[in-house]
């Protein structure tokens, strides 16, 4: 039996203890939205439901981390352009200025009939609408020999924080002339240009500290995001340092041995010094626990990001199968605003506006050499469809590339302010 609302509010308040902000007095009949996951999708959705409803909807945000490190821009930390602190954000302003009940806990179950979410700490939250924005988890066994247990020997660094710091330390301490290898993921995965920006940032660091080192990319994909732009940049900045093995040369048949630090590429065993394994990906575990996944991802309506399997659950960002949008923080933030508008309209009688989506992904190749790709999207019965797009061009002048990089810094400041309500 779910707890009644009075008991629930009591337990949630107990869980958050006495977070600095006073709890906002809430009407007992107010609708309740629970958001699971405090990243670009979830934090944005929580904030926009709270502001869009003028407090008429109670919002609880469930996120285990007290300090959230953005995965976007974590490659710039690897390259030495940013420190880890500048990627960290807290949820204090969402609680104090937006009245959001922030609960630092893991969601471990969803009862769709009772419309409740169970937390690892023992509490049960009832919801009128549930927003799941859990990001990614890895597909077990997608790179034979690798498992989460081996992530210290071969870091994925695809969720920002200690893994990112570990990978940077390994690159910094790599022997002179050593080999940095990356096992790149198959589509679809979080941040399509991410692995290749990462290679650029590692190359930038090695060029300064270990210029005879080599980088080996083992990539199961025929092609990748902004490929021409990255390859042109690698040629200009890191001549002879980076080699990519694609599916033609066996990159779809790869296993690793974390103890021996070897990669087996279709029978050829390579000894490497640092190995960044980015496995195949799937929706964060809670989506599967809620029973709303089909294969690795959670299919949703393009109009309001509602699950195709449960209209009271919305899925945002990387976890969602929505159509054409790339799995990016920008996309998740864009989807969250459409979703929040639909939820406020449904639960609090707000005006419903037509869905509209956009994405831009910036990448850094070397100092002041920034590139970008972006598109606008619309909702259709067949999913979210791209309507127009742009991409940086090979051969742009240095001033354009520097402006693009500086623009990405401006975007980071803005989107994190948009997510967390504070600069």
């Amino acid at each position: 039996m779910p707890l009644d609302r009075r008991q629930f509010l009591g337990s949630a308040a107990a869980l958050t203890a006495t977070l600095a902000a006073p709890m906002v007095a809430r009407a007992q009949t107010a609708p309740h939205v629970v958001v699971v996951g405090g990243g670009a999708g979830g934090a944005t959705a929580a904030r926009y439901v709270a502001t869009g409803s003028n407090g008429a909807i109670n919002v609880t945000l469930v996120e285990p981390s007290r300090a959230y490190y953005t995965c976007f821009f974590s490659n710039l930390y690897l390259g030495g352009f940013l420190n880890m602190d500048s990627l960290g954000h807290s949820y204090g302003t969402l609680a104090s200025n937006f009245g959001i009940n922030v609960v630092h806990d893991w969601a471990i179950g969803v009862d769709r009939d009772a419309k409740t979410v169970t937390l690892a700490g023992g509490a049960t939250l009832s919801y009128d609408r549930l927003v799941l924005s859990p990001g990614i988890d890895f597909v077990e066994g997608s790179v034979p020999g690798w498992s989460t247990a081996a992530q210290n020997a071969m870091p994925h660094a695809y969720k920002a924080g200690s893994q990112t710091e570990l990978l940077r330390a390994q690159v910094m301490n790599m022997r002179e002339g050593g080999v940095f290898a990356m096992v790149a993921p198959p589509n679809p995965y979080r941040c399509p240009p991410g692995p290749y920006e990462r290679v650029s940032m590692v190359a930038h660091m090695l060029k300064q500290n270990n210029p005879t080192a080599k980088i080996l990319i083992v990539d199961p994909k025929e092609s990748f995001s902004k490929q021409g732009l990255f390859e042109d940049g690698w040629q200009r900045h890191y001549t002879g340092m980076i080699e990519r093995i694609g599916p033609d040369f066996g990159a779809t048949n790869v296993s690793v041995d974390p103890d021996a630090m070897t990669i087996n590429i279709d029978g050829n065993v390579e000894q490497v010094d640092v190995c960044n394994v980015i496995p195949a990906q799937r929706a964060g575990k809670i989506a599967e626990m809620a029973g709303i996944t089909d294969g690795n991802w959670a299919p949703v309506s393009a109009y309001d990001l509602a699950s195709k399997m449960d209209e009271n659950i919305h899925v945002l960002g990387d976890a969602a199968a929505q159509g054409d949008m790339p799995k990016s923080g920008f996309s998740a933030n864009s989807q969250a605003k459409v979703c929040a508008n639909a939820i406020v309209a449904a639960l609090a009688g707000g005006r419903a506006f037509p869905p509209r989506f956009a994405n831009t992904c910036w990448s850094l190749i070397d100092t002041n050499d920034g590139i970008k790709v972006g598109a606008t999207y619309e909702a259709t019965d067949e999913g979210i469809k791209s309507t127009s797009s742009f991409v940086s061009q090979v051969g742009e002048d240095a001033a354009t590339r520097e402006t693009t990089y500086r623009e990405s810094l401006g975007w980071y400041d803005a989107i994190t302010e948009d997510m967390f309500g504070t600069a």
């Binding site: 926009y48 920008f330 933030n333 864009s334 605003k337 508008n341 005006r351 506006f353 509209r356 956009a358 831009t360 970008k372 972006g374 598109a375 606008t376 309507t387 127009s388 797009s389 742009f390 940086s392 001033a399 520097e402 402006t403 500086r406 623009e407 810094l409 401006g410 975007w411 400041d413 803005a414 989107i415 302010e417 948009d418 600069a423």
Partner: protein, 229 residues
């Protein structure tokens, strides 16, 4: 902020004493250097404020001195301290806008080449002319496509919804890298967006996003952003 203004003054004074004479500027060469500026600043007779303040009568005008333009605090404070635009401080400002007036909302990297700067300043002096405090406020003609959007009463709630697309990149607290757009006068805001639509300004992201905004949507956004502090 007052301290920053005074610091700016002190820097201007010291550098004026120690710096070599300005290079001789060529206004005809400066016209080419002005092209990027023209995206935001109208110059010459009939100029009106756009994204940036108009430059008509700039020389000798108090810094941050147009009453109908919303400047950053740093420029307002400089003007309040009696600073007016001269060839010398304009040259230094254009060399490193953020370094000279920290906190300026002008998003421009600066021009490091002294000769290019001298040419640009010569062009601005020639085209802008001198400040006349008695002159009537500028009454430039508004292009018809912009007048059409200005005539629409913006739907505030729709503008608030649409604004979330802008705030993914435009921080409320203006950074130095993407301009702040909160609090812009509707005429300035509408002119800024329409200039992408009619091809006066070019930016991959902005051109793409503005091209799918209709007149009603631009008017709605302008109505909303005018109220954001």
């Amino acid at each position: 902020m007052r301290q920053i203004g005074q610091f700016g003054l002190a820097v201007a004074f010291l550098t004026a004493l120690s710096s070599p004479a300005l290079s001789e500027g060529d206004a005809s060469r400066g016209e080419a250097a002005y092209r990027p500026c023209a995206a935001c600043h109208m110059i010459g007779e009939g100029a009106i404020n756009r994204v940036g303040p108009h430059l008509e009568g700039l020389m000798g005008r108090p810094v941050g001195g147009l009453s109908d333009y919303r400047y950053s605090d740093t420029l307002v404070n400089a003007g309040a301290n009696g600073v007016t635009w001269t060839e010398d401080n304009l040259d230094r400002f254009l060399e490193d806008p953020q370094g000279y007036y920290r906190g300026t909302r002008m998003v421009f990297r600066g021009i490091s080449d002294a000769q290019t700067r001298a040419d640009l300043v010569a062009y601005i002096v020639q085209e802008a002319g001198s400040y006349d405090s008695a002159a009537a406020p500028s009454t430039g003609e508004v292009p018809p496509e912009i007048a059409a959007v200005l005539a629409i009463e913006g739907d505030f709630a729709y503008g608030e919804y649409l604004s979330s697309e802008c705030t993914a990149c435009h921080a409320n607290q203006s950074g130095g890298d993407i301009p702040g757009i909160a609090g812009l006068a509707p005429s300035t805001f509408i002119h800024a967006l329409m200039s992408y639509k009619i091809g006066e300004r070019e930016h991959q992201v902005m051109t793409m996003l503005v091209n799918r905004l209709g007149d009603e949507e631009i008017a709605a956004l302008a109505a909303y952003f005018a109220t954001v502090e």
